[in-house]
Amino acid sequence: MDSNQTLTIDEFNLSIENIIKISNDILDGWTLHVNKENDNGKYITKKSTISIEEPGKGNPITLTYEHHVVFSLSYSVPMICFNVWKADGSVLSMEEYLNINQNFDDSNMYNTITQLDHPVLCRPFLTLHPCKTQEIIEPFLSTSKNPVISWLTVVSSYVHLKILEEYIKHC
């Protein structure tokens, strides 16, 4: 077995098309986008909305997450990019986001969540730092029918993304 195996863009595209198919069956809301000008122009997005208590103030606020799963050519790994906005449309800065996020303690949050340009949209998004992704995804490349789903099940909880069990049946 090749020890330095990476996910190819074709495998990535197959994986996300599979996600779209499952999502359409269970109305999970993933949408496929195709940007023909990029080699890695296929990516999927999903919106979800939550209520949280505003830190320090205690009143509930509505936050909408928009997650993007997109292929990074420079790392040869899938990336999960996301934006979070309030009900008026204003997008949280990275500092505001980390301020309200409960999943990270002070010591490692800056090493886990970072801001990078979206590989296709070339606009700043919050993201999980992609340099650890290869490590996470590598074991799945030979064992999973859908390595992207397998990887998402590992990382999704860090970014407030819910992966329903239906997907797990497909990997």
Partner: protein
């Protein structure tokens, strides 16, 4: 025990792309036109984990066709974008919502709603967009009939009333509907079976005799057993077509989708027994949304951070630096760098490369001084200029400032065309006022700024700024180039008291405190004169290897940033190795500041790709930074300078250098040129 029914209100949820698209349409299509525009709102109760029932709008809201993605039901909306804040405020909200209601009533009466039941779900946005500030004032309304009193009877979960098979079939029938039919439909229960009908197929067949076998179903906006306020519009429709139901009890299904594991189900829907009121198609409509302070009033979306490209660039630059702080260097002081005002004397190869590196460090205030214009040879070496600048013969200082702003609009860059008066360059009578003016301007610029970079192309032009830098006690960073050598140094602080302050020093090193560190001229024991006339040795070299200026420019900025990180700033001591012993011992000085060492001088030799870090003491007879010279300037000001401009010999006499020359035969002159590539 009958209670009056209470309702859930929708809350608006705007996606950033909605404002983006609105801006685009306002600027490119609508311009000053205030006509209202039809838009779509998106509703689903799946994939939500929030207390509110939210209606979403995004960029696709402006599309002609509704894209349900199999998930959403449509709300029919209108956006009225006012041209001024006054018009926005003065707009009569009651009239506006009543007008919306009237249109809705008409579509009930003329039967349009029967064909497309989603027309009962309406909203409107009154809006004013301040596009200069990216501020959007907006107010949503969800028009519903006022004063519709409905009595609530029994309520029961669908799953407690019907079999699993029936519920499963109902969901499948529902899924097959088009999005606009999903909003309102009729469910029939007959012969132990649930059947779903479109309104247009069944409404006319419901009679007083058979109405109990029918359920009026609506896709409820709330998941917690309370109907959405839109139910009142539904009741208006029902009573218009089934007047026999007035004051009768009728079954309804508040239809909701939820998940059982991964699968979607409608089993959590609720069956209500409702006693309908008398038909009273009143003209009064309500539904304006409350704002975040729970008051009836508009909301304000400040989208500057998201939509203003200038702000995006500004934040991105800072974030890049903050990542360095967060991930590598928690103690670095980025604010002091960002807030430092930098004066760049000379806007050639060094000036361009210094400016760009300062920009990368997040510096926001950069001032260029130069006296020449962009020539055809400049753009390839001087990274801020273009071919067009040379065609236009733009002044370098101005071209550099303009182009720097093109690279990063967040920078406050200014350019000054200014001749820096030089020793030995005689001032004629006609030029006297101009020179006086220039000295004053340079003095002001140096006083106003925090870091002075000496990046000129001649040795003597560095004299006045060095003196003024000492006089104002600024951080002065000097960079000079030879063909394949460079010198980057910081000047010591000015202090009449030259006593060494004690600082600990590892073995193999020596230290010089900041107030005893030399300036550019301390190493050279002739006064700067007119290089064209007197000094041919190190001034005539006019070529440098192209990379040298980039290296030296970058080092100049990095040295300045290191100085800023030290608590004593330019008074920070400098260390230098006295023997190779330090290297042998493995002694290193790494943590003089958070970034490491703060050398006095960096001298590089590109032929050997080598770099050394000497430190030199202040020369007490220095022509530029010695107490004698600074005191003389403080006492006699411009008159003193004038004497120096007219004869650099004056400086040598003043500092006693002339005396010294008599004693010394050999003058060791530095093999360094100040010239750049001109």
């Amino acid at each position: 025990m009958a209670n009056n029914l209470t309702y859930v209100q929708l809350s608006s949820c705007v996606n950033p792309s909605f404002w983006n698209k609105l801006t685009e349409l306002k600027l490119n299509v609508d311009k000053l036109d205030e006509a209202s525009r039809n838009i779509w709102g998106y509703f689903t109760n799946l994939n939500k984990d929030c207390v509110n029932s939210i209606l979403e709008v995004d960029s696709t809201s402006y599309n002609e066709n509704f894209n349900d993605q199999k998930l959403y039901i449509p709300f029919h909306g209108k956006i009225l974008n006012k041209n001024t804040i006054e018009q926005f405020k003065e707009c009569n909200k009651t009239d506006l919502i009543n007008l919306e209601g009237k249109t809705l009533l008409e579509s009930i009466k003329n039967g349009e709603v029967i064909k497309d039941p989603s027309l009962l779900n309406v909203f409107s946005i009154l809006c004013f967009a301040d596009l200069k500030k990216y501020h959007y004032y907006y107010w949503f309304s969800f028009p519903v009939l006022k004063d519709v009193i409905i009595e609530k009877g029994e309520e029961i979960f669908l799953s407690n009333k019907f079999t699993t098979e029936n519920i499963y079939k109902l969901y499948n029938d529902f899924s097959a509907l088009t999005a606009n039919q999903k909003s309102y439909f009729i469910v029939e229960y007959a012969s132990d079976e649930l059947k779903l009908h479109k309104l247009e197929d069944k409404l006319n067949y419901i009679t007083f005799e058979n109405h109990t076998q029918y359920y009026f179903a609506f896709y409820n906006i709330s998941s917690n057993n309370i109907p959405g306020s839109q139910l009142r519009n539904y009741v208006a429709l029902i009573l218009h077509y089934c007047p026999f139901l007035e004051e009768e009890t009728q079954n309804f299904i508040a239809f909701i989708l939820s998940r059982e594991g991964s699968k979607v189900t409608c089993k959590d829907s609720t069956v209500f027994e409702l006693k309908l009121p008398k038909a009273d198609h009143g003209q009064n409509w309500v539904g304006w949304e409350k704002n975040e302070r729970d008051k009836m009033g508009p909301k304000l979306a400040n989208m500057k951070n998201t939509l203003d490209p200038n702000k995006l660039a500004d934040d991105a630059v800072d974030l890049n630096l903050k990542l360095m702080k967060w991930r590598i260097m928690p103690n670095i002081d980025l604010e002091i760098v960002k807030n430092s005002k930098c004066l760049l004397l000379g806007s050639g190869t060094l000036g361009c490369s210094v400016a760009r590196t300062l920009l990368a460090w997040g510096v926001r205030i950069i001032t260029f001084v130069d006296n020449s214009t962009v020539s055809f040879s400049n753009p390839v070496r001087q990274s801020l200029f273009t071919f067009q600048d040379s065609v236009d013969m733009k002044p370098k200082s101005k071209a550099a400032a303009d182009n720097l702003k093109k690279i990063f609009p967040g920078v406050i860059a200014t350019g000054h065309q200014l001749n820096i008066p030089m020793p030995g360059h005689s001032v004629g009578e006609s030029m006297l006022e101009q020179v006086r003016e220039n000295v004053k301007k340079l003095d002001n610029l140096i006083e106003e700024n925090d870091i002075i970079f000496l990046l000129m192309d001649s040795r003597e032009s560095r004299w006045l700024p060095t003196l003024l830098g000492s006089h104002h006690n600024k951080i002065v960073i000097n960079a000079a180039l030879g063909f394949d050598t460079y010198l980057v140094m910081r000047h010591g602080t000015f202090n009449e008291n030259l006593t060494e302050t004690h600082s600990t020093c590892p073995e193999g090193f020596r230290t010089i405190s900041g107030n005893r560190l030399g300036c550019y001229f301390c190493n050279d024991i002739t006064a700067p004169g007119n290089s064209m006339k007197d000094r041919t040795l190190d001034q005539q070299c006019t070529v440098t290897r192209p990379g040298v200026s980039q290296i030296a420019g970058a080092l100049a900025v990095e040295l300045a940033v290191s100085v800023l990180q030290h608590s004593q700033r330019n008074s920070a001591p400098a260390f230098y190795q006295i023997t190779n012993k330090a290297a042998e011992l493995g002694c290193e000085i790494e943590n003089q500041c958070v970034l490491g060492l703060i050398p006095h001088t960096v001298r590089g030799f590109l032929s050997s790709f080598n770099q050394v870090l000497p430190a030199t003491e202040k020369f007490k007879q220095c022509v530029a930074c010695s107490t004698t010279v600074v005191e003389e300037y403080r006492k006699n000001g411009f008159e003193f300078l004038l004497q120096v401009f007219n004869s650099s010999k004056f400086l040598e006499d003043l500092t006693g250098l002339s005396e010294m020359f008599k004693e010394t035969e050999c003058v060791d002159v530095w093999d360094l040129s100040d010239d750049e590539d001109e």
